[in-house]
Amino acid sequence: MSVEEEGTLEQHPTESNTETAGTPKIRAENLTKQFGRIVAVEDVSLDIQSSEVFALVGDNGAGKSTLMNMLSGVHEPTKGQIYKDGQPMNFSNPSEARDNGIETVYQDLALMDDLDIATNIFMGQFPRTGFGPFQIIDWDETYERAEQIMMDQLGRDLDIKTEVEFLSGGQRQLVAIGRSLAFDPDVIILDEPTSALSVDATRLVQDTIDTLADQGITIVIVSHNIESVLKHADRIGVLYRGSIVDIKQPEETDLEELNELMTTGTLSSGRLDD
């Protein structure tokens, strides 16, 4: 199949992406987002399956962030429809996406350095005790649940009373993921999760992503780090100028090919012959 044909087909999930059995966890159908006269994302369709690690890659300005923001409720699509578990969804803000089990961990992580891990995880959603208007934060429950998230779901033995400013880059990423887990999501969107991390920290985050996928959570990674997604993603969607030009499985592609797709939106003839 030629790239053009494959790319065209991937725009229509009913024809192309349904090779994986069952209702997709997330279905984007003909999503388009315009900002004034600029078309940031155009007619993108894709299916993401339950427990899948799906990576969205692309060059700067390819539309990764816009697509991510539509899935996470930051932007409403100009055209098209998002489905979750087969149900049509219209998110007008991130809270609505969150209410429907979709959590997003943004690149800046949104952490409060002066506060400890548990407080960061539960900021804005603390467990409470008491009744009526006399409810107060239940700190015992907060620390207990934060420890459960770190230990049981992320498999990391971090002192949850440690202030975030003490943590390394990888650990900070874990805390941000931990906060998303506090909302009990079934889809987590990670925006550049390994950006600017050391090798060890990148491995820590990648292992965590694998752990979450093993727990049945669907992971969408938006990343520049092609090497990383090649190792850990189940499928990789390549965005070029607002459109998905190809969706590849890691075993059928390589770094060079993905880079070429990202930068040109197509593959050279030699590649096509292969």
């Binding site: 991130p94 809270s95 943004y106 800046d108 992580l109 949104a110 952490l111 409060m112 350095d113 002066d114 506060l115 407080t119 900021m123 804005g124 603390f126 107060i136 934060i137 700190w139 990391r156 033995d157 971090l158 002192d159 440690t162 400013e165 003490f166 943590l167 390394s168 990888g170 650990q171 906060r179 050391s198 060890d200 920290a201 491995r203 820590l204």
Partner: protein, 335 residues
């Protein structure tokens, strides 16, 4: 600190932990040293502990207001002016002096008016900062000047003839001290045990992150400045009771002492860090120094303002040193 399966790349020893704890609570050893020093050099200062604490009430409430603003990553230069203006405005309404307006003699209406004036000024501060986007320094500096000027424009003589119950609140030492301690207790508990309180710390630590986790930061800023205005107005009421009249210079210069008290008490200048108990320690420290200066035979009344400035400078230097030490310890933890 727990290890993380070999991935942790920052480690802190027990000595560093002790140092960090000490830095976060440095007010208590400093207070201890100052108490010993004053006891040795100016022992007459401690003739009446109740008098020291009573005198600390207005500044205590202002420290509380400033601490709340500082914890949220903001600050309020207008607290002294709010205290002075709200007290003067209410005094003009209640007072029976020749130039007073004398609109009512009800102390209850007086309590309502002073709180309303303080909260309204605080509310406008908050709206201008959160909604209009003005810089907190410039906004509150403008209000400092405006309301100090408005107070002087209203009255240049002491306002007398206030209802007895109105002045009794601040004139009864145990009641005033109790009120200040209750205010500290309530704010301390609110900060520790409510989502609002934790949101204040989050806002101070990173306004951007606080917004991203769903905190309505604009609303929070408005509430914080409104509370600051109310606490300042109560400070004005206490100042009125302390002297029995509304003096024309009421509230002036107190913002700097409040600032010093909060910073010495461990409240971070950059927000997100600090405890209300520390701020209370800062209040006691400032008031002990003030009382010692008043009782000292070698320090004249004209020199006190200069020494207050030195105390403020010392507080800022102390804070700066604390920040540097903290950064150094954090950096040394990196492997």
């Amino acid at each position: 600190m727990a290890t993380d399966q070999g991935f942790i790349d920052r480690t802190f020893g027990d000595r560093d932990d002790v140092m960090l704890t000490l830095l976060d609570n440095m007010i208590w050893p400093i207070l201890g040293l100052v108490l010993i020093g004053v006891l040795v050099l100016v022992p007459q200062t401690f003739r009446s502990t109740e008098l020291i604490l009573w005198g600390a009430v207005p500044i205590g409430l202002l420290v509380l207001a400033e601490s709340l603003c500082l914890l949220s990553g903001h600050f309020d230069l207008s607290i002294g002016s709010i205290a002075g203006f709200s007290a003067m405005f209410t005094g003009m309404i209640l007072g029976t002096c020749p130039s007073c307006w004398g609109l009512t003699t009800s102390p209850w209406i007086g309590f309502a008016i002073i709180l309303l004036v303080g909260s309204l000024i605080g509310l406008v501060n908050g709206v201008m900062i959160a909604k209009v986007g003005l810089n907190p320094f410039l906004q509150t500096l403008a209000f400092l000047i405006i309301f100090e000027g408005a107070k002087t424009a209203m009255q240049t003589q002491p306002v007398t003839g206030l209802p007895p119950l109105y002045t009794r609140v601040g004139a009864t030492p145990r009641f005033a001290i109790g009120l200040m301690l209750v205010a500290f207790l309530i704010i301390g508990l609110v900060l520790r045990y409510t989502s609002f309180g934790q949101a204040v710390y989050a806002l101070g630590s990173s306004e951007h992150s606080a917004r991203e986790v769903g905190i309505d930061t604009e609303r929070l800023i408005i509430i914080i400045y409104t509370i600051s205005g109310i606490l300042s107005a109560i400070a004005g009421l206490m100042l009125t009771g302390f002297v029995g009249v509304v003096p024309p210079l009421i509230g002036e210069g107190l913002v700097f002492q409040a600032f010093a008290g909060a910073v010495i008490g461990g409240i971070s200048l950059y927000g997100g860090r600090g405890m209300i108990t520390g701020a209370l320690g800062g209040v006691i420290l400032i008031q002990v120094i003030q009382s010692a200066l008043n009782n000292s035979p070698v320090v004249g009344a004209t020199q006190i303002q200069m020494i207050n400035g030195i105390v403020l400078l010392a507080a800022i230097l102390l804070y700066s040193t604390q920040s540097k030490l903290r950064s150094r310890i954090l950096a040394s933890g990196a492997v």
